[in-house]
């Protein structure tokens, strides 16, 4: 009996070790970048040789990176969140609140941007923009990102809307509220968390996107991921590790906020 128990215990330990190593497989590359960013040595050695912020200073004193961070990546991501959120909220309201012919089709249609491989969407948009004489500016990148983020907004808002009982709406209507009042005073506050997480997801996706950005950015509008991409090819120093670490921290903070207001599992 005792032997069986010991065997069982060993099995549990082995299984837990396996789970931990699978997590390591996902997280090791992320952790190593953050460690390299804080390591004074320029050649990405492990274990770290010390603690230093010099790569962060090097990032903040590099005009090209600063322009790309504050004048391209950030404004684009904010613009994307501001545009795709209202569009997605309206779409989700239509899909969840009404039943109509062709609803199933539209439901699939609204996730279409997720089903087309991003690289190919990037190619198609680039050639399409060239055809229409649309120059590659921040604007062209923003519309590219709006397309891929709309499905996320629709989804997270839909999840929230499913939780709103139609009864509440009817009650407000009976008490004399107009449709618009019902929307702003009843529905909107109830689906606030879904809207916020949709907006934050849009921000993060735009902020980290490379597949579309690679095609839709010109030389003056390269986003941070595009810079990291070309620096890796030129064997850059850990300054790009510092930028990456900053991105990881920003994304981590935002995901922390989303997770607090909204179960992250429901949106993905």
């Amino acid at each position: 009996m005792n032997l069986i128990l010991i065997k069982k215990k060993i099995n549990t330990y082995l299984f837990n070790a396996l789970v931990i190593s699978i997590y390591a497989f996902i997280w090791a590359p992320i952790v190593i970048i953050v460690l390299s960013a804080f390591d004074p040595s320029p050649d990405f050695t492990f274990p770290p040789t010390g603690l230093s912020l010099k790569w962060f200073f090097s990032f903040f004193s590099n005009e090209m990176f600063m322009t790309s961070f504050f004048l391209v990546s950030l404004p684009v991501a904010i613009g994307v969140a501001l545009i795709s959120t209202p569009i997605g909220v309206l779409g989700a309201m239509g899909l969840v609140r009404y039943s109509f012919k062709g609803r199933n089709f539209l439901e699939t249609f609204f996730v279409l941007p997720m089903l087309v491989p991003e690289v190919l969407l990037g190619v198609a948009l680039l050639l399409f923009f060239i055809k229409l004489n649309i120059k590659l500016t921040l604007f062209s990148l923003i519309i590219g990102h709006v397309v891929i983020t709309i499905p996320y907004v629709v989804r997270s808002v839909s999840v929230s809307l499913h939780g709103v009982k139609p009864m509440l709406e009817e009650a407000a209507r009976m008490l004399g509220a107009t449709k618009i009042q019902v929307f702003f005073k009843v529905i909107l506050p109830l689906i606030r968390s879904g809207i916020i997480s949709g907006a934050l997801f849009s921000f993060i996706i735009s902020f980290g996107d490379i597949n579309l950005a690679l095609f839709l950015t010109g030389p003056d509008t390269a986003t941070i991921p595009v810079h990291i991409y070309s620096e890796i090819q030129w064997q850059g120093d850990p300054t790009i590790a510092a930028i990456s670490a900053i991105q990881i921290i920003i994304v981590g903070l935002i995901l922390g906020i989303i997770n607090k207001t909204f179960k992250i599992r429901m949106t993905l």
Binding site: F25, G88, L90, L112, V116, I143, I228, L255
Partner: protein, 289 residues
């Protein structure tokens, strides 16, 4: 009643129009456009000329150079999917069956890396797998390894990179599938004398097949359109379709051919998704996928 209906006919288009217009204009129209130019003749001076041709499609399927790229792409996709199944199953089982208080944290740790830029995660793998990287430091401790192993630029490097990024897409549907299998079934089987591997083969595996299929389709379809990972970890030796499309568009400006490769890949993707939806609708919707 009539009043509500007339309001509805006004409100509904207002709600649905923005999404529909944006997606039609920025997904459907561009795809149709590259579909059209994929039938034009390539010209080195004018990019394309208005002559209808099937040459761009013929070239894709009959030129040995492209057949090799297709083969590499298919191979990377299949091996990546297999690795994600092997690594994903234990993790999905753990997440589905764990009674830990920290289960939300574990799910967060699984999903949040999806939101970190692919470039950064691949940058991490380049640091780890480089000649002076951590992995090589460990390998050098082994008696049979005498000098650093050049992992970067090989097929295994590309597969490691893609599978570590796509693993969550395998785990999530698998986890839902395992969650829906009553724990009592496993217990009943082992009470009746089945050992662990018998429980796995006879109970868990067959009942979690819907999750396995969703996860595999998702991982396979995303991995065959990879561009960044092979570009940073595989080139020049490991060249996938994504790299070829990129080069045709931005290096050799052969847009008709880039168009035909894209159309073939999109057609393939949608065919698989369509079949999946037709056969497995009862197990889950496109949302789940």
């Amino acid at each position: 009643m009539a009043k509500i209906n007339s309001q509805r006919t006004l409100v509904l288009p207002f709600l649905l129009a923005p999404c529909t217009i944006v997606i039609s204009l920025l997904v459907v129209a561009p795809l149709i456009y590259i579909g059209i130019i994929s039938f034009y003749k390539f010209s080195p001076t004018d990019v394309w000329i208005n002559i209808f041709t099937l040459e761009n499609y013929r070239r894709f399927f009959f030129d040995l150079f492209y057949l090799k790229i297709i083969w590499v792409t298919v191979k990377v996709g299949l091996i990546t999917t297999l690795i994600c199944v092997i690594f994903g199953y234990p993790l999905a089982y753990f997440l589905a069956r764990s009674r830990s208080k920290h289960i939300e944290l574990f799910i967060f740790l699984l999903i949040s890396p999806l939101m970190i830029s692919t470039v950064i995660r691949i940058f991490g793998w380049i640091v780890l797998l480089g000649k002076q990287g951590v992995i090589n430091k460990f390998l050098l401790l082994l008696p049979m390894v005498n000098e650093p192993v050049g992992i970067l630029g090989t097929l295994p490097a590309v597969i490691i990179g893609i599978s570590s990024i796509l693993l969550p897409y395998m785990v999530l549907p698998l986890m839902s599938a395992i969650e829906s299998i009553p724990k009592s079934m496993e217990e009943a089987a082992s009470n009746l004398g089945a050992n662990k591997s018998q429980v796995f083969i006879k109970i868990l595996l067959p009942l979690s097949i819907p999750g396995l299929i969703s996860g595999s389709i998702l991982v396979y379809l995303i991995s065959i359109s990879a561009l960044i990972v092979p570009a940073l970890m595989g080139l020049p030796k490991v060249r996938m379709l994504g790299n070829q499309v990129y080069d045709e568009v931005l290096v050799s400006f052969n847009w008709p051919f880039a168009g035909s490769i894209s159309i073939i890949m999109i057609f393939f993707t949608f065919t698989i998704l369509g079949l999946y939806l037709k056969w497995f609708r009862k197990y889950g919707s496109i949302e789940r996928l």
